[in-house]
């Protein structure tokens, strides 16, 4: 399934949370664009506004200043073709695996039969066939992660946003899920934005790596990572060097 990815443009975006007496600036003057089909990773110290940036791209949050465009249109509410995988995965314990996978389609009022068919296909793609009637509590952490991914896939999104989706997964499983994410992106060609606090993950899954500064967060470096996409890349010296490069930039930004 080949998808034309979405184009994203942030220009001079700032976000202030007015929390009573003291206003908190989460992001300040964030500008970047993502070309259709590109996969970028956002990394930075905690509280640097990378999740806030992702929420704006998803349409859950509007900027206080500046504009956020997806396919040249301002994002004022969640788009039909955007899929967001939140940090806690957003699965509902009272829905079966199939219902969870089909939920994006159900909400979009896709006919029940078609929604189920597409959800089944997506579940197969992530290796969860046979678990359609189980409940999330019966799945392992890695399977739940795959289920969240299946929900996004079933929606046939041109933009996939992920907020540290693998942070709760142990290291070995994490690598196999990263491979799954990479495969899907290579196959489908959607635009992808991944927020992560893992340097290795950013280097493995980001064609470009945007480094955020501490609060108020802004983009301090936009690092090209052209070798990304090759599954053997993880074991190479160049990969390790790239990680060191990001680490140095992060250390510089924290000063």
């Amino acid at each position: 399934m080949e998808t034309q990815g979405a184009h994203i443009s942030f220009s001079h975006v700032s976000v202030e949370f007015d929390d009573g007496a003291d206003a908190l600036t989460a992001c300040k003057d964030v500008s970047f664009t993502v070309e259709p089909g590109q996969a970028i990773a956002l990394i930075g110290p905690s509280g640097c506004g990378k999740s806030t940036t992702l929420r704006m791209a998803s349409g859950l949050l509007e900027p206080s200043e500046g504009t956020v465009l997806v396919n040249d249109e301002p994002v004022v509410r969640p788009r039909q073709a955007t899929a967001l995988i939140p940090q806690d995965l957003g699965l509902f314990p009272w829905k079966t695996v199939l219902q969870n996978a089909a939920l994006g389609l159900t909400i979009r009022k896709v006919a029940k039969r078609e929604a189920q068919e597409r959800a089944c296909q997506a579940l197969e793609q992530v290796g969860l066939q046979g678990f359609e009637r189980s409940y999330p509590k019966e799945l392992s952490g890695g399977m739940r992660q795959r289920l969240a991914l299946a929900r996004a896939l079933a929606m046939d999104a041109d933009l996939l946003l992920m907020d540290e989706p693998l942070s709760a997964i142990d290291a070995l499983l994490r690598e196999s899920l990263q491979d799954a994410l990479l495969d899907l992106w290579l196959q489908r060609g959607h635009t992808q934005m991944l927020v992560t606090h893992s340097i290795e993950e950013a280097v493995y899954l980001g064609q470009r790596i945007l480094v955020f500064s501490e609060r108020p967060g802004t983009v301090v470096a936009d690092i090209a990572n052209p070798d990304m996409g090759n599954p053997e890349w993880r074991d190479s010296m160049a990969f390790a060097e790239k990680c060191l490069e990001i680490r140095a930039v992060l250390a510089g930004g924290a000063r």
Partner: protein
Amino acid sequence: MKPPLLRKIGGYVFAVVFIFAGWWITAVLVNSPALPTPADAVEVLVANADQLVPYFFTSAYRVIVSLVIGTVLAVPIAHVCARSRTLDTLFAPVLYLLYPIPKVVLLPILLVLFGLADAPKIVLISLTVFFQVLVAVRDAVRAIPESAVVAIRSLGGSRFDEYRHVAVPATMPAVFTSLRIGVGTAIAVLFIAEAMAGSTGLGYYIMQSWSMVNYPRMFAGIIAMALLGVVLYALFDIVERRLTRWR
């Protein structure tokens, strides 16, 4: 499949034997006409079945209708209150003050307003159930994590979707738990209401037997009322388990 079911049935058989044995021993020890043995009570129960069965259904009808009315009124109000900060600030203290008041005290007034038939009993039990369900569901709505609502919104869900996919299923267990607990209270209130006014129902039967100083007949009524409670409790338990299999 079979062994767990058998074990369960065995458990209930044991429980019935245990309870009746306890009753029997107590009756023998107390040795008073006010506490007949289970054998005497069951004998009267069987003999008076033609009168007890209609009374059982009259009482069951009153309790079930009240449980339905109380729940149907309480659930939407609980959702609206818990989701709106303004309404909650306004009504939480009202609820806080009204909830602990025993609603039974209103019975005399309800009798004046609604007469002696089903209406005052149903109003009183509904009121009791209403508050129990309201408090439980309101707390359950407030316990829904914000992230669940955000997840629905990020999928492009409307306010209606938030209710349909999050608020209603998330609070379903609270509804049934409060109903299961509410059955006990509802039947207690039913007994008082039927004992005080009217000439039908198990409560009336028990009090009538008491005034006739016919203790075995009274205990036959008590067994019937206990049975009503058990049946309703089991019913809610089964429905709850079916609807909340995900837990």
